[in-house]
């Protein structure tokens, strides 16, 4: 067994895969976005706030954020993915909701729901992070009141190396691998998503937190530019808007 020394695609340990982002890609949605990082791509669409139906699911105190993560049938690296929500997709939908809820200000929309749909046409690694990043952009595009932006990226450890934004090949490395998806609130620096798969020690994890925060800052820049691309106003920008 070879120990891990160099990244398979030639990146440095703190480099992310190439990213691109665009908002307003789905005409009938209230807000939408496309986000691609390396070979992982995600569409996200937001519908709402709208009345929550059936009525018994309404919360009179606040609005509800409802997320759905779904892989297109041909988006997996192996066999066809059966359509419909399997256990993995349900769990990712749930953690996506929890990753976004802290920044979404929907207290003022009682009995309402904001639906977020995420669909991935191709995946490599980091698909939940790409989904969350796209969804945060789509929420902003929909004009949903937000307290902060959410930017998501995974970091990990392979043998003794700490690294940012693992690829599928790296996740599958024949050695000691851990993969930890993070989502950061940009301004507060707090995390809204933390999962982990594989072995890691406390020191490394805390170092990975810092690395992920810096990497999420780069994701944020791409998100910000995508929003500016659509909403940039030449000349004066009305601060009240």
């Amino acid at each position: 067994m070879m120990s891990f020394s160099k990244r398979t695609d030639g990146r440095s340990l703190t480099d992310l895969r190439p990213m691109e982002a665009k908002v307003g890609v789905i005409d009938k949605a209230d807000g939408s976005a496309y986000f691609k990082i390396g070979n992982t791509a995600a569409y996200a669409a937001v519908y709402g706030p709208k009345q929550m139906l059936p009525r018994f699911m309404q919360d009179p105190r606040r609005g509800v954020l409802r997320c759905s993560y779904s892989m297109m049938p041909f988006s997996g690296m192996g066999e066809r993915v059966r359509p419909g929500q399997n256990r993995r997709a349900k769990e990712i939908s749930m953690v996506t909701e929890k990753a976004l809820l802290p920044v979404v200000d929907i207290e003022k929309f009682p009995n309402s729901v904001v639906d977020v749909f995420i669909e991935l046409p191709q995946t490599d690694a980091g698909s939940r992070c790409a989904g969350i990043t796209a969804a945060a952009l789509a929420l902003a595009d929909a004009g949903i009141p937000m307290k902060d932006m959410v930017s998501s990226v995974a970091c990990g450890k392979i043998d003794d190396k700490l690294l940012v934004d693992l690829s599928y090949e790296e996740e599958a490395f024949d050695g000691e691998v851990c993969d930890i998806p993070f989502a950061f609130m940009h301004n507060s620096g707090k995390i809204t998503l933390l999962q982990g798969d594989g072995v890691v020690d406390t020191d490394s994890l805390l170092k990975l937190f810092d690395m992920a925060k810096e990497a999420a800052g780069k994701v944020y820049e791409v998100q910000k530019n995508a929003l500016l691309e659509k909403y940039k106003v030449e000349g004066d920008l009305d601060a009240d808007q």
């Binding site: 759905s68 297109m72 041909f74 066809r80 191709q122």
Partner: protein
């Protein structure tokens, strides 16, 4: 609904003068944009854009047991999905009747038109054959999903390269240079009737006013391999003749566009 009735009257007035809201002629298709290789996890893929309509087709191949009645032929499956992502009208859950109808119409054109020589997909008669899954996902719906889906499916089939087989398993990470055995090219073409007028490549707004439609799937030589009448009104023989002509003409244009892009 009064508003839709008024909208329909307004549209009919336009059509009488040979006009459409987007200033196309009645028999004029929107520009067909075709981009292949849009999903690198698929064995073949394509995105088709018609105005604001946008669909992605992806092909997955797997080794499976053949059906008992066709022990020496590969399997083929088409599924169009209308995800909640694309429109507030699409509901989550199992495919609705629209998605099922679209899937079956696209499927029939490809199957009956013998687009793929399924005999060549047999590895071991009665035991092991290639199974082709054609999935089409709608990203944006501004009408004419059937035609867009059929064109995308055809383009994705042409884009497909076979993965490597190692013993009884498929190594999806290694693609060979082999292509699918494509024998012929078939695309669907849909014609609608609104009042006394016949139109192709409708937008959503126009589809809402549609009285009836006919979809055909044809090859370049004008032979038809699948038909589907939709909508609520009965059609006369004259209606049918007009719709067939318009359908065949626009089908030919779609095939020509496919040829340009995929050669």
């Amino acid at each position: 609904m009064l508003t839709s009735k008024n909208a329909k009257l307004h549209l009919a007035k336009y059509l009488k003068e040979g006009l459409r809201y987007d200033s196309r002629k009645l028999d004029e298709y929107r520009d067909i944009k075709i981009e292949t290789g849009v999903s690198n996890t698929a064995e073949g893929s394509a995105k088709v854009t018609l105005g604001k309509t946008e669909v992605i087709a992806g092909i997955k191949l797997s080794l499976e047991k053949p059906y008992p009645d066709t022990p020496d032929s590969g399997n083929l499956m088409v599924e169009v999905s209308l995800p909640s992502l694309a429109s507030p009208e699409y509901e989550s859950g199992p495919p609705g009747i629209d998605a099922i109808e679209f899937s079956r119409v696209v499927d029939r054109g490809i199957r009956e038109g013998k687009v793929v020589d399924t005999k060549k997909l047999c590895m071991e008669p009665g035991e092991k054959v290639w199974s082709i899954s054609i999935d089409i996902v709608v990203i944006n719906n501004d009408g004419n999903i059937i035609d867009a889906s059929g064109i995308a499916a055809m383009a994705a089939l042409l884009d497909t390269t076979m993965p490597k087989v190692e013993g009884n398993t498929v190594n999806y990470k290694e693609k060979t240079k082999d292509r699918l055995p494509i024998d012929s090219w078939v695309v669907p073409a849909t014609v609608h009737k609104i009042g006394e007028h016949f139109l192709v490549d409708l937008t959503c707004e126009e589809e809402e006013a549609s009285d009836g439609r006919l979809t055909l799937a044809a090859k370049e030589d004008g032979r038809i391999y699948a038909l589907q009448k939709g909508g609520d009104i009965p059609l006369t023989k004259e209606d049918l003749a007009t719709m067939l002509k318009l359908g065949l003409d626009s089908g030919k244009k779609s095939l020509a566009r496919l040829k340009e892009v995929l050669k």
